[in-house]
């Protein structure tokens, strides 16, 4: 059984409508926002024990943030070679998503970082403070696409 089928099975057995597809170097599991926590729990109970990144991509044109957790396993060597991208989309004007720190403690600092860079609020995070930036910079949410820095051309 291909690995991607196993992920599909995990998702469907937990009753989650997930779009599972294969990406370049990862397996994408896109779930609706309502089933976000259940999907994470389903993955965690199947041996995915840590979060590698919390990636947020700002699709300004579509008005959404894509929240993606890249999870994998340390203890289970069979799973370790795969990276699962658990992703969902949240509206740009109300960026709230359930925190997954309770499921994966390793996401704590990564969520704090995403909070300050994008202003995405992780509900249920025990200690949601800025971690890298000063307060005056945090207010601008610098990684959003509407915060513009001077770009450079080929010859600068």
């Amino acid at each position: 059984m291909a690995f991607i089928d196993r992920i599909k099975e995990i998702m469907s057995s937990s009753g989650i409508e997930a779009e599972v597809s294969e990406g370049k170097g990862f397996i994408k599991v896109k779930v609706p926002l309502e089933q976000w926590e259940e999907a994470a729990k389903a993955l965690a109970s199947n041996g995915f024990d840590h979060v590698k990144t919390v990636t947020i991509v700002d699709y300004k044109a579509r008005g959404v943030f894509e929240v993606a957790y890249h999870v994998s396993s340390f203890l289970d060597t069979g799973l370790a070679k795969y990276i699962i991208e658990l992703s969902t989309e949240i509206p740009r004007d109300n960026p709230v998503v359930k925190s997954l720190v309770g499921i994966w403690p390793s996401a704590e600092f990564l969520e704090r970082e995403s909070f300050e860079f994008f202003g995405v609020v992780f509900e249920g995070h025990p200690d949601l403070r800025p971690i890298l930036l000063l307060d005056e910079v945090v207010a601008k949410h610098p990684l959003r696409k509407d915060f513009v820095v001077k770009e450079e051309g080929i010859f600068r």
Binding site: L133, V137, P142, V149, K150
Partner: protein
């Protein structure tokens, strides 16, 4: 510090120390000695601001051994007289740089290391950096990204020459201030 405060207990240490220094430097012409001593005893404070710290560390490593010039990286700001800004200074770090600089006793000198400390370098359009010359007076700039350890050693030698030829240390002690540094105490960003 007001002059009255100290007298209550032990006499005014600041004023008596200044008088003694004045006597020694002006009457006894010890300025040359002080400049010589300061030039060969530039102790950089342990404040690594950015990634040029790797080359800073390499400068004091056995291969380049900047301790030959009498420069010994020292731990606490109160006992040092020299600061090397290693590369980019972020907004958060700028406060630490300023506080550390103010903690150091005069005469004190600064070297800015790396392209980032000159004008931002590769991070010139970043939203989170400041130029170190906006917050403290810099004596010598070292270009390069990162500068080689030889360049850092060269800068130290250059600073030693500056101190000895221009009498920076003794002038500072006689006057009690330094013109180049004045604006950073009044209008500088911090």
């Amino acid at each position: 510090m007001s002059q009255k405060e100290g007298k209550a207990y032990v006499g005014n240490l600041d004023v008596s120390a200044r008088k003694a220094q004045d006597l020694l430097l002006n009457k006894a012409k010890l300025g040359k000695l002080v400049d010589w001593a300061t030039a060969f005893s530039l102790w950089p404070v342990h404040l690594t601001t950015s990634c040029c710290g790797c080359e800073f560390a390499a400068t004091w490593s056995p291969r380049f051994d900047a301790e030959r010039y009498g420069a010994l990286p020292w731990i606490a700001s109160r006992q040092t007289n020299f600061m090397i800004i290693e590369g980019t200074v972020t907004k958060k770090m700028a406060k630490a740089v300023k506080v550390t600089w103010e903690q150091m006793p005069y005469p004190k000198f600064a070297i800015a290391m790396g392209a980032c400390a000159l004008d931002g370098g590769i991070f010139y359009n970043s939203y989170n950096i400041v130029r170190p010359w906006q917050i403290i007076p810099i004596d010598v700039f070292i270009p390069g990204c990162p500068p080689r350890p030889e360049a850092v050693a060269r800068a130290i030698i250059e600073l030693q020459k500056m101190i000895r030829t221009k009498g920076l240390a003794s002038q500072w002690i006689i006057k009690g201030y330094r013109e180049e540094a004045l604006k950073y105490y009044t209008g500088g960003e911090g």
